[in-house]
């Protein structure tokens, strides 16, 4: 607790700077404010604002203009053309980020019966047009997800492969399909000790040993390195030489892996057992990869190491960290499971986020467990994580881990206009999301949705 206080003080100091610059911004704005033709200006007034930068405003004002946050602060003048949302007695916070989901992906399309497919892209499979074979047309925000305040999701290929492919960070609503992409590729998704899937209808092949899959992973990465060298070599040639030598044929998989080797994107490795986490760390070090651990059931057991190497962890939901596989979970896994995982990692200085890992449950759901991510954060806080850290795990920390904190994750001037208004404190069970705004679009209103 004492540590927390110190941290908070430090943060306060740090956050003073942006605040000052913010007020400058407001001044500038007042001077240069030109009546914009862009229609939607939204002003959210009198709510309690949790900016996630450390600053909290009781009765503050948030202004969204042209899809971006224009002002966050104590109060002030509301532009005349603004649509005003009265948030008196309510909480205002940045859009919730679900750092690990399969939302919008049809269950059968996630996994491919091959161990290594870095060329597969999740951005090709994101479906955000409402129900299949019916509906009005155009992008249809999923009310069942937005009622949980989720504005951004990271979507991963399935976990039945060693290298599943390229994950993407996407918004849950938008004006255009392409406009919803925040980051693509956001990372290369991998799974340690994966359980391979079978071709449609066929039985799955046997699970490879850890030795074999690690060897395959290293071989693949070495292949990508060699490919990169070949490409570089060709590029370095003179025009004359190029004419003679054959151009190396393109390879989509290796092209993606080059980005990984360059450090442009991280590797997200799903690993639960401590041994698997350590194996991932080993490979990442060998090839100089940026690493993010997914799920990380046993991460708390190596929290010192992770903190030292600055490897973030995207944990599964506290209430069911091993997902539906709970059915088949071994005693070993059950004993590894620890509700205090988040608290222990945070205490040790590891950056964490929570992800819903939302999977399809029969026909009844559409991968929308993310709507309860705030409650998962609440559960984490009942096991020792501070409320602030719990909220950060689903907002700014998630954004930082996903590499998109320049755009989302907190309420700051210039960031995307992704704002959630709740009827009460976000971690309380009875608090419901009243409005969700994504890029300045009012994408969900509880009253309308319940009609």
């Amino acid at each position: 607790m004492r540590q927390d206080k110190k941290k908070r003080q430090k943060q306060m100091l740090k956050k003073m700077f942006p605040f000052i610059s913010l007020s400058f911004g407001i001044l500038l704005l007042a001077v240069f404010a030109v009546h914009s033709a862009e229609p939607e200006v939204i002003a959210i007034k009198d709510g309690k604002i949790l900016t996630m930068t450390g600053k909290v405003y009781e009765k503050g004002l948030v202004i969204i203009k042209n899809g971006k946050i224009d002002k966050v602060g104590k109060g002030g003048r509301i532009p005349r053309d603004a649509k005003v949302i009265d948030a008196q007695g309510k909480y205002v916070m940045p859009g919730v980020i679900d750092a690990m989901t399969y939302f919008g992906i049809r269950p059968f399309s996630r996994n491919v019966p091959q161990p290594v497919t870095p060329q597969n892209r999740i951005a090709d499979a994101y479906y955000i047009f409402g129900d299949l074979f019916t509906g009005e047309g155009g992008i249809q925000a999923e009310a069942e997800l937005l009622c949980g305040g989720i504005t951004t999701v990271y979507i991963a290929p399935g976990s039945g492969q060693l290298i599943g492919g390229q994950g993407a960070v996407l918004k849950t609503n938008g004006r255009t399909y392409d406009g919803m992409v925040v980051s693509d590729p956001a990372s290369i998704d991998m799974t340690m000790a994966y359980a391979p899937v079978g071709q449609f209808g066929a039985p799955p092949p046997p699970r490879p040993t850890r030795m074999a899959s690690m060897a395959l992973l290293r071989t693949t990465l070495m292949g990508a390195k060699a490919y990169a060298q070949k490409i570089e070599g060709y590029k370095g040639k003179s025009a004359e030489e190029k004419e003679k030598a054959p151009k190396p044929p393109r390879d989509l998989g290796n092209e993606a892996l080059i980005k990984l080797l360059n450090g442009e994107i991280p590797a997200r490795v799903e690993a639960d057992y401590v041994d698997d986490i350590l194996a991932a760390v080993r490979v990442a070090e060998e090839f100089g990869l940026k690493l993010i651990i997914d799920s990380g059931l046993g991460a708390y057991k190596v929290r010192g190491l992770l903190a030292e190497k600055k490897i973030p962890v995207v944990l599964g939901p506290v209430s069911h960290p091993i997902g539906f596989t709970h059915y088949n979970a071994s005693h070993e896994v059950q004993e590894l499971e620890n509700e205090r995982n988040a608290a222990l990692l945070t205490e040790a200085g590891v950056k964490i986020a929570l992800g819903s890992h939302s999977y399809n449950y029969g026909g009844s759901g559409k991968h929308t467990q993310g709507r309860w991510l705030l409650l998962e954060a609440a559960l984490a806080s009942s096991f020792g994580l501070s409320e602030e850290d719990a909220l950060k795990a689903v907002t700014i920390n998630a954004a930082e881990i996903l590499g998109v904190s320049d755009r989302i994750g907190s309420l700051e001037k210039g960031k995307d206009g992704d704002v959630v208004i709740l009827s009460g404190h976000p971690l309380k069970i009875e608090s419901l999301v009243e409005h969700v705004i994504i890029d300045g679009l009012i994408s969900y209103s509880r009253e309308k949705a319940n009609q």
Partner: protein, 454 residues
Amino acid sequence: MFRRRQFTRQLQAVGWVLPAVLSVAALLLALPILQAQDKPVIAIQGGTVLTMAGDAIEGGTVVLWQGKIAAVGKQVSIPDGAQIIDATGKYVMPGIVDAMTYYGIRPFALNDRAKPVTPENKVILAYYPFGKRMHGEKGIVKDQEILSGGVTTVYIAPGDQQVIGGQGAVVKTYGADYQAFTLREPAAIDMCIGDPPKQEPRYIGAKPPLTRMGIATLLRKALVGAQQYGQKLKDYDQKTDEEKEKASPPPRNLGMEAMIKLLNKDIPARIESDFVDDIRTAIRICDEFDIDLVIDSGLGAYKVKDILAEKKIPVVLGPPIHPFVQGGEVSMSPDLYREMDDYSAAKLLKAGVPVALASFGFSFGGFGYATSGRWLLLEAAYLTGFNVSDEEALKMITINAAQILGVDDRVGSLEKGKDADVIILDGYPLHIKTWVDQVFIDGENVYTRRGGAK
């Protein structure tokens, strides 16, 4: 609904329905009356009324009162306070009756392929009138999609891949509760003769039927079994009380109880058969056991039209634009493909066979639900190109269908005293651009078209 004699007999025989009917009826008896009184009196005025029981009435009036049709005609006095619906320039006709559908039943719930003979299965138990699963409102839903085609009554059937599938039912597409929407249950025993019920032949341990012979044998066995079961019941009934005390009654058997209804001619056998040979087999077996028969699909029925006419065996044809109701749209069997004849309905009608058209609507994966009945008017229109008159075409999806289903005392035409199942169309019913504007079931407006094409 039921003829009274039938109804009482059913009450005696359908032991398991009895307590349900009584307990529910006791509670609900007062309700429909109260509800009916709540319903406003409606007068549909000025339209061309196609009653299906006589000539069309230009500028006629239909009065709906307490869920029934109170009056139809040109000069009709309209009760005070009636809600007037102006149908000038429009057409008014009875709700469409779709005589064969799998509406409201999930495709994989249709057939129990492990068992070829299941007369005990009741399709009404699988019928799902609650809209989208896991979503929607409390209570029974007005499915706008099927109502948009003016369909007010449907026959729902168990699957068509078994020799004896089970007991079908006639239901309305809306009603406040099960009691209200069920017109007749059981309405028939559904059977199939031909290729579909055949089991995969295996070299060892194969179960019948593998051939048409096997199908017929299973059918006969079931009917003989029912006869014997009926005899046993009769024997027990005729015993004195003292004897009864000693002997135990024959154990109840749900399947046989249903089959007895067939033997008593309370309900018909509906046998899906396409090849003319299969139709002949169906006739042969039904003659042998003296039971009522309805031929379903009957692609080749026109080839025995005179026999059908003579024996007054009705035929429920598949949709003429898509006449193959089993398997694919285009039959893979060249023999069966050649049974198809666009003039089939005309030939049957001319011979005097009672004919209805039905959608045989089934669920097509995620594409759509079993609501293709909503285009039954277009199917009828198609036939008018093949020697069927407009009137005959319309009757095949209204009164003819109702008669074959045994519910013509309640639905199928606009006549005084019948259920107020009425549709208003914005143009001639057989034109492709015509849409159903409003649908009334039991005098209640259950559908009104919004927006749409025009």
